[in-house]
Amino acid sequence: MATVNAPTSQTSPASVPPSVFTLPQTAQLEALYTIIRDKDTPRGEFLFYSDRIIRLLVEEGLNHLPVVPKTVTTPTGATYEGVGFEGKICGVSILRAGEAMEAGLREVCRSVRIGKILIQRDEETAQPKLFYSKFPQDIASRYVLLLDPMLATGGSAIKAVDVLKEQGVPEERIIFINLISSPEGLKNFCTKFPQTRVITGWIDKGLNEKAYIIPGLGDFGERR
């Protein structure tokens, strides 16, 4: 029996850390990225097609959550041995670009709680600095889907996980979701947090001298 792209997550190349999962690299997915990378794509289309990728990423991320056996009775009176979702989740978006992923998250996880983090570069130290955060009170008992569309150097994502760990969220209960990542960023992030899973749609070539992902898609937050 044929299945669509048999493995759930394509096994990543050897150089990629084991905690990194990419979406199945189908022609269809490549076409989606081609649309959002194109500098001439109008905003409406950018929104529509980036939402599609975000939904696929969230669906993939959710597959890393645990399920428990559950038996139900169907309307025809038959019993069905299925599974039930286990554990509570919440989203945390890294401002500003991460907010753009919230709509896609809510299409898959209805009325999910969403926390926010604002991280900016400190001009004095040139290090990422936490400016603002707001989380659900019981975040320590939830699985966290951390949202940031682009993983470039990994600076703010690392800072965000640090903040979440301070809130009591174990590293292994965080799933970091992004659309495009650079090999450098993945290496930095996964070296620091080997237990945190990273779901990425596409791994690009690298960074340019301004630390932008190449070929990338420009400033995600600005294009939305």
Partner: protein, 526 residues
């Protein structure tokens, strides 16, 4: 001037059944309705279990002089046939040629001979009839008598079991005569035809007797003598233009017998109504991997997918949850289905000024067709995945008396209605489940009739019953791909009750999939 032009009245299809209430006097009805589509209770299967059409439509040509009563004869035949599926009466007036501006000016001056065979686009007339006879769609041109020009719009026709082509030149062209199963010539006395014509044109079109006679002598009479009357020798039967009850009775008896014989001849080849009527599959078992792999695609059975199905199968799931998870599942199914579309390389420049190699869709048109009502829950997913997707629908219902599917309504996107575009169109066919596969079978046949290629059809569904009609479906249409999230073991016959009021409870037999999800359309909509 032509046979019976409808001044200022476009040839629109008129939904029917009420033709019986029209006055039967030829002189008043002849110009009322030209191209007419008469629908009845729905169209039973017109194809066998190999998926091929088993019978052509029955085509009748009716010729005769102007005002001889052709339309009347056509309508009387339809009336005496009684309950039959769709009938189309096609007028030759639709097939006047496209004119140059000079010709239009001449026509406005009454200086073009519309009663000459050259005024008609005979190859197109023949092609339309051949398409209809072969159960394909056709787009009939629309001719405006006020503008004296063929309009850019066309009239879409599909699915008629009987086609009646009428016009003074209906028997003139050999290509037309080759299509007809029955050729009728309406013979009428010249005096009577002239009298009817004068009365009609003076009374209803405000013409002077002088003008009518002038046109008659200049165009109508010579055309009749030179082109119309001689074609009577091709007719199978010549019908008098008045007092023709006996002739019409004879004709309809003949047609009924012809239709019955075709039906009897093909009945053994009909699609099985119940899955256990299906012949033993030729493959060793329905689980044979070879049979499965290329045209039945099952989503990866991930934890989330199983969790979604568990919620949807649970009879205690609340309506709002059911709708939410159906939409989510539909999106996943459509995402998997669009992966079957073709792509070609395309390179773009990113905002960073870098060239990025990529891909783009290589399809002229992608659309969705929903099998109503239960295919509707998949539409949201399609709209989330394909921006501004074109959507059509088919209404297929099961005839409670025969358990056969009936095609009740066809509303297809433009790119499918147009035969030239249909072959380049990809269609996502949506239905909640494949049980007996009777409606899936009919829907796929409709698309193939329109010229959509088998391998451009992707059937998307929540559930497939393993022991249902899916194996017959896949044998008949091996290139059609089916995308589903779950394959259930059984199809079971059961009765459901529709209580319209306390005393009036209708029981209808349905096939349910087990363990299944219950009646998906009801749980989503009601």
């Amino acid at each position: 001037m032509s046979d019976t032009p409808e001044d200022g009245m476009p040839n629109v299809p008129l939904d029917g059944g009420n033709f019986g209430s029209l006055p039967s006097s030829t002189s008043t009805t002849i110009q009322a309705l030209k191209n007419t589509v008469l629908k009845s209770h729905g169209r039973p299967p017109w194809y066998g279990q190999d998926g091929e059409p088993i019978t052509d439509a029955f085509v009748i040509g009716v010729a005769g002089g102007s005002a001889s009563g052709k339309t009347h004869v056509a309508r009387q035949i339809v009336r005496s046939l009684g309950s039959i599926p769709t009938v189309v009466i096609l007028s030759q007036d639709s097939f006047y040629k496209r004119h140059t501006p000079e010709e239009v000016a001449l026509a406005m001056d009454n200086k073009i001979d519309f009663d000459h065979p050259d005024a008609l686009d005979m190859p197109m007339f023949a092609q339309c009839l051949v398409d209809l006879k072969k159960c394909r769609q056709t787009n009939v041109p629309v001719y405006s008598f006020t503008e004296h020009q063929r309009l850019d719009e066309t009239q879409y026709l599909y699915g008629a079991a009987i086609i009646i082509a009428e016009g003074i030149m209906a028997l003139h062209d050999p290509a037309l005569r080759a299509v007809y199963d029955l050729k009728i010539f309406v013979q009428c006395d010249s005096d009577l035809m002239l009298a009817r014509r004068i009365r009609r044109d003076v009374k209803e079109r405000g013409r002077s007797v002088e003008g009518v006679l002038d046109q008659y002598l200049r165009y109508v009479k010579p055309a009749y003598d030179n082109f119309v009357l001689p074609t009577s020798r091709y007719a199978d039967i010549i019908v008098p233009g008045s007092d023709n009850h006996v002739a019409i009775e004879l004709i309809s008896t003949h047609i009924r017998r012809q239709l019955r014989e075709r039906a009897r001849h093909f009945r053994p080849n009909m699609v099985p109504r119940r899955p256990n009527d299906a012949p033993v599959p030729t493959e060793t078992s329905s689980n044979s991997k070879e049979q499965r792999h290329h045209n039945l695609i099952l989503l990866p059975q991930t934890a989330q997918l199983k969790g979604i199905y568990t919620i949807l199968r649970d009879e205690t799931t609340a309506k709002q949850d059911f709708i939410f998870f159906v939409d989510r599942l539909a999106t996943l199914l459509i995402e998997a289905a669009v992966e079957l579309l073709p792509f070609r390389p395309k390179s773009v420049e990113t905002p960073c000024g870098v060239e990025a190699p990529g891909k783009e869709l290589e399809a002229h048109c992608v659309c969705g067709v929903t099998i109503q009502r239960s295919g509707g829950p998949l539409e949201r997913g399609l709209q989330r995945v394909i921006n501004d997707v074109l959507l059509g629908s088919l209404l297929v219902q099961t005839d409670p008396a025969t358990s056969e599917p009936l095609l009740l309504h066809v509303m297809l996107p433009k790119c499918v209605r147009d035969r030239g575009k249909a072959k380049d169109t990809w269609v996502f066919l949506l239905d909640a489940q494949i049980g007996t596969a009777a409606s899936a079978f009919m829907a796929i046949r409709v698309l193939l009739d329109h010229g959509v290629l088998q391998d451009h059809i992707v059937f998307v569904t929540f559930l497939v019953a393993d022991d249902g009609g899916v194996s017959t479906l896949r044998r008949a249409f091996p290139e059609v791909r089916i995308v589903t999230g779950a394959i259930d073991a059984h199809l079971r016959e059961c009765w459901i009750e529709d209580a319209t009021d306390e005393n009036d409870i209708h029981r209808r037999k349905v096939w349910v999939i087990e363990p299944g999800m219950g009646q998906i359309g009801d749980r989503y909509y009601l």
